[in-house]
């Protein structure tokens, strides 16, 4: 049961991101580099928030505190990445083999968002996956057997959310749309704080809400990137 569960959860969490990577990123060196750079920036933000969490000893057990500042740091680094990408655009144009990277600004935001998401999902899940792969252990404190599956599903939603958030956020910064920026930060905070309920095993509430938010954010990102219901219809019918 351990190995099937390991593969199942891996594919739940990383299957869609992997497909996105293979079909949209892997062919273009510049995108791969940006993806890794975004992952690196996410690591930096995580490092900062861990340092804060680590330094303030009395609040170590209050996870909400760490989560809050972690979200703030992540959004700060999203902004930093935005500044860096925009300021190196000229350079990117010289480097990019595929002009779409620079012609369509949403590609940059999508790629960096996916980098954020993938690394975030990995950090959240990878040790859980390693435990999952065996040897099997009994639930010592009668933990729920849904733990692994819900973790994987939650990780998938976070990965997708990061991608959408970056698309919305970058565009909002371009167009000075403060409402969207507030939405990104607010929904990020909401989703992260909501997952605190997972500790009391309220999976239906958290997962359902998170996926609803994921879908809504996805729709918003789709609109922001210029999609309409007509273009969606055309896409579906392959016109």
């Amino acid at each position: 049961m351990t190995l099937p569960e390991f593969f199942g959860c891996t594919f739940i969490a990383f299957g869609p991101p992997f497909a996105l990577f293979v079909f949209t990123i892997a062919n273009d060196p510049v995108r791969i580099i940006i993806l890794i750079a975004a992952a690196f920036f996410w690591l930096l933000s995580l490092l900062l928030s861990s340092l804060l969490w680590f330094a303030i000893i009395p609040l170590r057990d209050v996870l909400a505190f760490g989560v809050f500042f972690s979200v703030v740091f992540q959004e700060c680094f999203r902004y930093i990445i935005y500044r860096i990408l925009r300021s190196t655009e000229q350079g990117l144009q010289a480097v990019a083999e595929d002009t779409r990277v620079t012609d369509n600004k949403h590609i940059l935001s999508y790629v960096s968002g996916l980098g954020f998401g993938i690394i975030s999902g990995m950090f959240a899940l990878v040790n859980v996956l390693a435990d999952m792969s065996g040897p099997g252990t009994m639930g010592l404190k009668s933990g729920t057997e849904l733990f692994f599956v819900t973790s994987a599903a939650q990780a998938l939603s976070i990965i997708l959310l990061h991608t959408f958030w970056s698309v919305i956020f970058f565009n909002a910064c371009d167009t000075n749309n403060y409402l969207h920026i507030a939405y990104v930060i607010g929904s990020h905070l909401f989703v992260s704080l909501l997952t605190l309920l997972n500790a009391s095993e309220l999976y239906t509430a958290t997962l359902l809400t998170n996926y609803i938010i994921t879908i809504l954010t996805g729709l918003l990102a789709f609109r922001v990137a210029g999609g309409t219901s007509r273009s969606f219809k055309k896409f579906v019918t392959c016109q």
Binding site: S50, I158, A199
Partner: protein, 542 residues
Amino acid sequence: MDGHVNASSSSRSGAGADGSGLSGAAERLERPPRRKQPRSSYGSNNQDQTDAAVLAVPNVAVRGGPSGSSRPARLSGGGAGPTPNENEEDQGLKYGAQHVIKLFVPVSLCMLLVVATINSISFYSSTDVYLLYTPFHELSPEPSVKFWNALANSLILMSVVVVMTILLIVLYKKRCYRIIHGWLILSSFMLLFIFTYLYLEELLRAYNIPMDYPTALLFMWNFGVVGMMSIHWQGPLRLQQGYLIFVAALMALVFIKYLPEWTAWAVLAAISIWDLIAVLTPRGPLRILVETAQERNEQIFPALIYSSTVIYTYMGTHYTPQQTEPAVTSSPSSSNSTTTTRATQNSLASPEAAVASSSSRTGNTNRTNPHHNQRDDSNVMAAEGMPLVTFKSNLRGNAEAAGFTQEWSDNLNDRVARRQIEVQSTQSGNAQRSNEYRTVTAPDQAQADAQEERGIKLGLGDFIFYSVLVGKASSYGDWTTTIACFVAILIGLCLTLLLLAVWRKALPALPISITFGLIFCFATSAVVKPFMENLSAKQVFI
């Protein structure tokens, strides 16, 4: 003259051998038209669009050659007029983007192999036997004692490395090619046979697979002989790259296995400092090596270097002593291991430009002078112990040459000629091949010169120490630390390559990556790991 011929021949052979490169070029050439369709930003960003539009014209001019292939339409509009300098710059950057990935893949594969081995074969994560060079075994529980043990060990190890590096340079200066070559062959022989056998044994033991000796010996014989041939003589490029990666991974495993824990970290720090000194100081040994190689127009010890394209320096007919040497990868036996390894470490990345490659193109005015090209191969040297990244910008007479890959140069020419894309790709392929042939039989000087070796190079030493870092990090059983190290090393490599494109000289590849890697390794395992464990135990996602 000899040197020239050899160099050129080697480069050609490389081009020929590198099927992938060609196909890649062809692919790239063919793809662009499809991409051309403007998928500009959809509605919302009007400003962006205008930006793009405004920029478009200037871009064309600036980008000149490289862009040509990818965007025919603009090119036709833009004209061929880029000044040489601009071209050079752009090509350099572009070159970087493509080839960074060509290094990412093997580096990642090497690390993956090491990490997988560490996690599945417990033999390699426990240290019970020690190398000769590390007399202090860190057995005391006292941190201070461990600290000076590690310091002393790493100093001893480093001095061995320094001595061996200098020895290699002296040998090279005196042209004792046979000795160097023998040394390298011996070490790779030991890695490919003895250490591979040990690896196989532990692998079989870990998975509890029975195997009889005749089968094992047959396998070892075939594996080792093919490896020796492909590394030192000739073989398909992929095979050679695969063997080089395997050898580097094996060497990294040896280090992880036989170095005491803190010594390994100290050695990583020390080696990157040494790398910095050896490559960048005016009298640094590696620098001397590189310069000597350039003077002699030789390519040195290609076997110590992973090349994204062609490594073979010599083709059958052309067999000059100099060319021969390059081949070996370092792989020291356990006793030598440290030294040799260091030797291995050199890394060069020299992107060389292959310039006007195709004979067919000869007609084009754009062509660079053939004569200048030759140096490239030679430049790349990896001396011992230090990883270098060499970026060779060759300058052909024409700046355009600045060169990068042959394909590029081909493209340039083509562009100028306004040839059809498909035609181009096929031509380039044929042209290269024909050159190769020529090289073997009768080197045509001019053309030979014109062709440069292309591709980026990284010393095997870099592979080894990157892998040691990641492997060591993963031996603590925490995957987040491993991933953090991996990302940090790749980013460091990226930065190094960026600097390479800016400065265009041999650069040490270890310092930035290893510094990032060490910082992230310790920070992650000390600070981030408890935080993330807390979060994932409670299923909190950030």
